[in-house]
């Protein structure tokens, strides 16, 4: 199976998303109970993510440019494939946010109900922190990014 330059660049994106999920998401998972201010080393982690991302993409695209010296023009087929895959990503993101907002609303409602019943222990355990929201949104972004890129790759192979 020979892959084109565009297909390789999609694979680079997929690998990045998976590596990001494996290396950086555990940090946000461990801190999802905390608020952003109380997260240990959040600024350091953010800087680490930015530096790693820049280094990864610089190296990956440099290797790609060396391997495929010929420039491939961007044409209407690329635009069609991109519009289809980004549309899928956008729809998934919108749908997931809709579900997330519903989840947050139901959680607040349940918390109020627990307050009314006087169950203080459960009431205190029912927390939705901004760390949790950040973790959820990051998981969502990684998941949607992988789905979008896989669909894009599939279209490049089949269209």
């Amino acid at each position: 199976m020979t892959l084109s330059k565009k297909e390789f660049s999609i694979l680079i994106e997929i690998i990045y998303s998976i590596v990001f999920a494996l290396i950086f998401l555990p940090y946000f998972y461990e801190n999802q109970e905390k608020t952003l201010i109380l997260m240990d080393g959040l600024i350091g982690k953010t800087i680490q993510i930015i530096i790693c991302t820049v280094i990864y993409f610089s190296i990956a695209y440099s290797v790609l440019e060396v391997a495929f010296k010929k420039k491939e023009p961007r044409d209407e087929r690329d635009d069609m494939i991109n519009s289809k895959s980004y549309k899928l990503g956008y729809l998934l993101y919108e749908f997931s946010l809709f579900i997330f907002i519903g989840y947050v609303c139901s959680k607040f409602q349940n918390k109020e109900l627990l307050n009314l019943t006087g169950n203080q222990e459960l009431y205190n355990g029912f927390q939705l922190t901004d760390g949790g929201i950040v973790f959820f949104i990051l998981v969502l972004l990684v998941f949607i990014s992988i789905i979008k890129s896989l669909y894009q790759f599939y279209l490049y192979r089949t269209v």
Partner: protein, 65 residues
Amino acid sequence: MILKNTLKEVRQKKGLTQEELGANVGVSRQTIISIERYRYKPTLELAMKIAQRLNIKIDKLFYFE
């Protein structure tokens, strides 16, 4: 009705490679391959460009079957 084409035969008759034709009309080799395999339906603009480059009427190049 499926939109088919005689692109491969006409191109080969004119002695052009997929890469050359793609470069002449401003698309990639993969796009020419996709059109020849009936996987991708080009826009009218691209179809006109290809027909013009191959010096053939567009209805001889693209047809319904």
